[in-house]
Assembly symmetry: C2
Homo-oligomer: 500 residues x 2
């Protein structure tokens, strides 16, 4: 094989994988958005076949030979090529270390486990799910040891989901969060609660959709390339490349804020993905690099910008124009306080900005202890409920709204949760850096996302997955990550909203 | 290779092709329905790659060896397997006879030609399209000669698009149509025109959609497996298998009938496709067998059932319920006459049931003469306009609404049009046969499509592509095809509507 030829093959391989990715992504998107209710089995049939083909293409003999050939000639390649090869070889090298029979058994378990979890959640019946969850944790430990015998298994997975992460960093991170957030929530609980009455009522879906599309335009999404659909749970997906992005939302007639902030959140993911440099399209370097950095963008737009007084002041007249009867009794300040109401609640995905990270922290503490062998799976519900009480001050009435609420563990995503909290905290530090160069509030008051987007594009988006998450952060922050920014931000927000 | 093994490989090959078909069909459907406006290039990128892969899978060495191996052991196989192998080998054998460089040049021409046609149509500029169309006809002749040197080239293509067809049959068919339809249209022109005022007005889109979904339910579509979307031009597509079918429509606010009859037409296609026996799914035998049989179903539901007095009597109260203000001045008889109004017009796709086949006949006569070398492409517009005047009695004001109106010739579909007329005529003969066993009007008056659907399922749908079109017709009709049924039907309809 000649080097020049191999380099071209490397590009072709990625183009092929992008096309399959487009097809599989679209099949899944169609299932969530448009497909008739009875077509899931038919779709699963096609997806299973295509998934198997993708597996063969990405890990087959020809591919491995090509990648190893190039990997041995690293010094003759560009940084971009080296990064491509690293990312393409990563999963192959992992897979090679896992005995095939164990991997097949694991894949089978995942399918069963998700199904059992779904039923267990419906019935608040942790006992039926516990044996599956035990096996999930066992596999997580075993596979991590196969992959990297030197590394602590939980550290292995933390680093997988957010490259650069480990328990030492996260212990410090969550300790700081706990020290300041738990008392902050206590102070808010003792203050006079703010009203969210302006968000509740009967909001026609077509008006909510008009608002959603207005928000997409306002936040600077290129709606020629970013589509909006409705699904049960909102999500964002790239199809084929960052040149076709879809976000989804869900309209609740009785609550105007849900879809609004969903759209801004998913819009943040979409801005990040679609902000990749054009020449990254159809390579593995296209689109956002990690969950943590992704959430730093989505939660930045949703909360830090979207719930800021500057933006709410700009937004409120639009809301009032669409829902004049409802909003005539309220001011933008009422709306601002309502969307920033803090109230400990049971379910992570419905949590407000201040209590959100404590939900994540509970999951981190628990999975860390189970991974270390110091907590049994069967004792998870009790510990979950105890921590919910300790950090959030609430009693968990059943496991459905407690330890069974999230799907992640059921499909083996152990070590994934911390990224949600990290992303939130990254965002606050990004804001602080950005403000040195950009008049953020001044721009938002005019509904002008241009300067903010431009800063993010230059410092974060354009790199796609070319840089590691750590490099992206370093580039953007010019100093080490420090959760103090986030805590300062949350305390200031509570001070403003609750007059603490 | 062992026979048993090869038979299993045959099934696997078809499953793989179905999965790719699903992906490509969905990419195309997404482009027509949901995708943001600026994403066509990105989609084309993925589709080009997947199309190339499908080409390799369907015509590659392994596939050819497998199919030839099985083909040599025909007598040990089932009818189903023989039919699968025939259909899978058909295109491969055709391709082998075409010199590769000519095929590549042709493919390139198709892409350019469609583009040139689109612009030429916009500008009513036939001259700019003529050189491309000349080459298209040249390729049609040359490729037909490569494929089957013994056969008349036009016969070759007629048989490709509707297996079993040739000019001898079609000459007779169109002669009979001309003899009775041209004077019939003349008689209608001399009669008092019926009003279509009840169809024109301002019809809210959501109400039209409600009507569309009601029609789908009424005609017996399984809406758990058949979806409805909106597109510029209505169409029907199967995704992966007949277990996921999508139809589309277009709502015109000013005309309530367009979407209504589109939905019934596409619904007819969908009934046929989804009526395949379950075990045909994921094989090349799944779904309708030919354009002609497909149109026999779609036009049967749209016109023969959909515009019948029995069904309109059942339908009208629903239309009146949705549009009470508009319909309060009309009766079901007014509505019946309106949807059956006959009026020679310029554009085939907007033609009524009676004049429709004459549009097709004009195209048949012209392409037949060009293929035979007795008409030059440059003389097509003049001949087109002359025939439009002779058969339909109208003057063609420009080529946009004349010879340039259809896209088919631009992408090389020469010999395709007759299927549209054949399908219409098949339908009338099917009705006649069906009425020997089913009280069609009695069922339609009650909005009960059950008995009609069951007859079609037993005689036509369930076979998918297992039988040839000729076998399907023979099965259903129990006598040779005869256009007399169709002409009798049209004359009776005009008699009823115009009191001739």
């Amino acid at each position: 094989m000649e080097l020049e030829n191999a380099r071209q093959e490397l590009i072709k391989l990625q183009e092929k994988l992008s096309a399959y990715d487009h097809a599989l992504g679209l099949l899944s998107y169609d299932g969530e958005t448009t497909a008739p209710a009875g077509t899931a089995d038919n779709r699963a049939h096609s997806m299973a076949i295509l998934t198997e083909i993708v597996y063969t293409v990405s890990t087959g003999k020809d591919t491995v030979e090509l990648l190893e050939f190039l990997d041995e000639r690293k010094e003759e390649l560009t940084d971009r090529e080296r990064r491509m090869i690293y990312l393409l070889l990563k999963d192959i090298r992992f897979m090679r270390k896992i005995p095939m029979d164990e991997y097949v058994a694991y894949e089978k378990l995942v399918v069963e486990s998700e199904d059992v979890w779904r039923k267990a959640k419906g019935n608040s019946d942790f006992a039926s799910f516990a044996p599956y969850l035990e096996k999930m944790f066992e596999y997580a430990v075993r596979f991590a040891r196969y992959a990297d015998p030197e590394k602590d298994p939980y550290d292995y997975w933390l680093n997988e989901y957010e490259p650069g992460m480990n328990q030492a960093i996260l212990d410090g991170f969550f300790r700081q969060l706990r020290q300041r957030l738990v008392p902050l929530i206590q102070r808010v609980a003792n203050a006079k609660q703010v009203s969210n009455a302006c968000l509740k009522g009967d909001f026609a879906e077509d008006k909510q959709e008009e608002l959603a599309r207005w928000l997409m335009e306002t936040m600077g999404l290129d709606t020629d390339r970013v589509g909006l659909s409705t699904t049960e749970h909102p999500f964002t997906t790239s199809l084929g490349s960052h040149l076709d992005e879809r976000i989804t939302t869900h309209y609740y007639r009785e609550d105007v804020s849900y879809s609004m902030f969903s759209v801004i959140h998913e819009g943040g993911h979409a801005l990040y993905d679609t902000g990749s440099d054009g020449d990254l399209a159809y390579t593995v370097l296209d689109g956002g690099v990690s969950m943590g950095i992704h959430e730093s963008q989505s939660r930045f737009y949703e909360n830090i910008l979207g719930r800021s007084p500057a933006f709410i002041r700009y937004l409120f007249p639009k809301v009032a124009e669409l829902f004049p009867e409802k909003m005539k009794d309220y001011t933008w300040q009422d709306f601002y306080r309502a969307v920033n109401r803090v109230e400990p609640s049971l379910v992570r995905t419905e949590a407000d900005e201040v209590t959100y990270c404590l939900h994540v922290m509970i999951r981190y503490e628990l999975e860390k202890r189970v991974m270390a062998g110091t907590l049994k799976v069967r004792d998870l519900p009790g510990e979950w409920n105890r921590l919910d009480k300790e950090y959030l001050g609430i009693d968990v009435p059943d496991d459905r709204r407690g330890v069974l609420q999230d799907s992640h563990w059921s499909f083996g995503a152990i070590g994934y949760f911390p990224s949600y909290a990290l992303g939130s905290a990254y965002g606050a530090q990004i804001l602080s850096r950005m403000k040195e160069e950009v008049d953020v509030d001044g721009a938002l008051e005019k509904g002008d996302f241009g300067p903010v987007n431009e800063w993010n594009r230059q410092h974060i988006w354009r790199f796609g997955s070319l840089l590691t998450p750590a490099q992206v952060l370093e580039n953007a922050l010019k100093e080490p990550f420090d959760p103090k920014y986030y805590l300062d931000y949350l305390e200031a927000k509570c001070k403003d909203v609750y007059g603490l």
